[in-house]
Symmetry: C2
């Protein structure tokens, strides 16, 4: 049957969806989320349909299409296409099976992931999958299959060498730019570490956002390989591997009910490691009131699962449980964090964040121990103190197309500022990662690189009345005002006598 395209001028956010009028769907015996094939010249695509009850926007004879389908089929408004009814994707049977409590096999999980990646499943359908994995749990084998499927339907970095080192943090701690200290250390020690990172999801800056202050981070797979061949290390945005495709969609659905189905969480992280060919991974697991992991017991259980799943996937994983009760470093937000990193690598004793140095040394040492380096702790400190790490960082910045000579003072910080001061004398009893993040984001981070927070105090520090606790930076006056408003309505740093 022939239909006239009505461009709805909107993105569906991924899923391939068209809209038919109620009259047409009745005639074709189609319901919402049934499938049709849309054909135009030599191009064709199977899409899900939704049904418009009124004729207000989509009339009988019209097929409303979101951007995604318009782009794939290279259609224009009012084009005529041929449509035919298609069966629902096989993956829906597997999702139903999982919902009914059956354990899925490798092929079934692969089919589901493939259809998610190819935008063949709608959000309602993905929600059923997430519900099923959450409610029924996933076996460690299912997690392994899910990891492999996510990797199989993305791109890989293939270095044909051994070992390949990597690092990951479960996140939830502002600042915490361990990666940007650890990668130059490991690379300076002679090991390959092709580190891919995300941009901020919930935080005020992701490693990619901060690294981008110093050098570009978006590269094609071949370019990343070239950088790593040159310098052994890289700090690039992982989006290029297109793993995010399945991952992002699952995360969006999970966040709706703040679910974190463990099986999916494990797969989502290990897929990123598997895709770069990592053989040894050190995993940072911060625990704290406002972190993903609230209690040591949970952390230990998850640590065992990660290490076991690693074995199934042929990755040597060591998880380190760390303190996530307060920010690591002084800066929060891309530019302020990049400054911290440079001061530290330059061994500027006065301005470097000591907690970040300590944590980076711990993680780098663990990673080097995993590949059998003797006296790894001493070696790591030597690499930092001798300036070798800084030299390596400059090489990486240059290889990624940045300016290796940049000095921390040259990094531009937002010119609109507000100092939050202690209202009374006492000691710092609590620092809220959550509210610091909220305020830094309101101030413009990570989109505005110079926006964020510089914190002057750590837990248990003694402070005097009127002493500066932290400074909010913004590039825009209105955003600063918005951030101050949030600050005034929240308890960020708790000082008690």
């Amino acid at each position: 049957m022939k239909f006239k395209i009505k461009e709805v001028k909107l993105s569906s956010g991924g899923p391939l969806i068209g809209i038919l009028n109620n009259e047409d769907s009745t005639k074709l015996d189609l319901r919402a989320l049934d499938r049709i094939k849309v054909k135009k010249d030599s191009r064709e695509q199977v899409i899900a349909i939704d049904v418009a009850k009124s004729k207000r926007n989509i009339s009988p004879g019209e097929l409303g299409l979101f951007d995604e389908v318009m782009d794939i089929l290279k259609l224009k408004n009012k084009d005529i296409v041929e449509i035919s009814v298609e069966p629902k994707p096989l993956s829906l049977d597997f999702i139903k099976k999982k919902l009914d409590g059956t354990t899925l096999d490798k092929m079934e999980i692969d089919e589901i992931v493939k259809d998610i990646v190819e935008n063949k499943l709608t959000e309602i359908e993905i929600t059923y999958f997430v519900s099923a994995c959450y409610r029924n749990g996933m076996s460690i084998y299912e997690s392994a299959y899910l990891t492999e499927a996510i990797v199989a339907h993305g791109k890989r970095l293939n270095f044909k060498t051994y070992p390949i080192l990597d690092k990951h943090s479960l996140g939830g701690v502002p600042g915490n730019r361990v990666t940007m200290i650890l990668v130059p250390i490991i690379a300076a020690a002679g090991y390959i570490i092709p580190k891919t990172s995300t941009r901020s999801i919930t935080s005020c800056s992701g490693t990619s956002d901060t690294m981008e202050v110093l050098a570009p981070v978006e590269f094609h797979v071949d370019e990343i390989k070239k950088i790593v061949r040159k310098t052994k290390g890289a700090m690039v945005w992982g989006g290029v591997l297109e793993l995010a495709s399945a991952d992002d969609k699952l995360i969006k659905i999970e966040k709706v009910l703040s679910l974190d189905p463990e099986g999916i969480l494990l797969a989502s992280i290990l897929a990123k490691k598997n895709a770069v060919g990592a053989t040894h991974v050190v995993l940072d697991m911060p625990i704290g009131k406002e972190c993903k992991l609230k209690h040591k017991k949970d952390a230990r259980r998850l640590k065992r699962k990660f290490e076991l799943l690693g074995k199934l996937l042929g990755i040597n994983i060591k998880a380190v449980i760390t303190d996530g009760s307060q920010p690591i470093g002084f800066g929060m937000g891309p530019a302020l964090e990049a400054r911290d990193v440079l001061y530290l690598l330059q061994n500027n004793k006065e301005k470097m964040p000591k907690d970040l140095r300590k944590k980076a040394i711990l993680m780098a040492t663990t990673l080097l121990q995993m590949v059998g380096v003797k006296n790894a702790g001493k070696k790591v400190v030597d690499i930092l103190d001798s300036g070798k790490a800084y030299t390596k960082m400059k090489e990486i910045i240059a290889a990624q197309g940045g300016n290796p000579k940049i000095q921390p003072e040259q990094i531009k910080i937002g010119k609109f500022r507000y100092c939050a001061k202690a209202k009374q004398e006492g000691s710092v009893k609590e620092i809220s990662n959550k509210y610091l993040t909220k305020i830094a984001k309101a101030a413009g981070a990570p989109t505005d690189k110079g926006a964020g927070i510089y914190i002057n105090v750590k837990l248990n520090d003694k402070v005097k009345q009127g002493q500066n606790l932290f400074t909010i930076f913004a590039e825009d006056k209105k955003k600063l005002e918005f951030a101050i408003k949030i600050y005034n309505n929240s308890k960020v740093v708790n000082v008690e006598k």
Copy 2:
């Protein structure tokens, strides 16, 4: 913060949704499906947001709105509104609770239904609720609370009298217009039966679609009361009670995986009975290969559940298990079914469908027995044979604004016709309800009143080669061709030697 409205010129199908650009959502620390309050002059509305990743359609500073929100707030394109961040609805906590396996209480279920009715929940969120009810099951009390909540958030008919009779069929059998015979019988017997029906959901005609051939079916609550006071019976569209609001949304989500969470099914049906104040309900439960209920065992279990839930809700329910293996009556599609009904009520021995008469007598007798009528069977046959049922039908047609003098021959039938003939001699071994429905719908039913199928054979009938098995009727030549195409690709009536 102020935002400029961008009308997206599309219906969300219910949920109140707006779209923000990625930059704005980051600044406001919002994720997809978080809530904001939109304010314009004295009007305000809390809506869910989705996030546009590119600036292609929604730019920073713009708030894209679907029809539903535009209408509620009476907004125009480019209007300026004030938005603020709102917490997520409480009902999401209850949905999470149910997903985690906890049984919900009355207040919690009420809150979920209220939010569904008021379009405060998105489809992803409703999917979590359906998953939870499907996977964890619902207690009979939860079903009762769900029924009450659906009724509480719709409209009611309140007759202040006793008893009030009603009837429902689980469906799946084409033709099967028992209601249109039973209602005049019961009303002629002196009992009140304010029957509300649906329009076709998956069938080629719902009772409302067929009744509409004889008289209007859409009335306000007060008008329905007036009709019932006058004639004791009514056959009207139930949509006016707005129960469909929660119901339709749940059904749409369920159908995606062809789920039929029993607790929701029970509530959905009994809510419609509860809303008209029914005290005695006869329930038709057809079983057959292509019905909802495939086996007697399932039917018996469901029958017990219905009757128990009825007790909790104060409704006397009797479920009758019936044969759903073939169509009831000759006609399928509004006009053809209306003809069947009139021939039967007029006692036209030659043209009436005897199976429909038999089934209607069974159901009406059961219902009258429930309210204590002696010799109910004889009474029902008398009412039919004496023409009292037909007289009552004419009263009802007149009360609903139709022409009571209409004769079956005056009902217009589609002029494009196709006869499906037996390809060999033998007896009818199988009739596919599913394919008959598909073909009737392809021919235009129920939108085109005169479209449908007239079937000449029943199971086990002997037929000769070339004998007419059924005729397809359509009001449009192209639709007839489409229906014939489906007929040629399917096994509708199986004749074997």
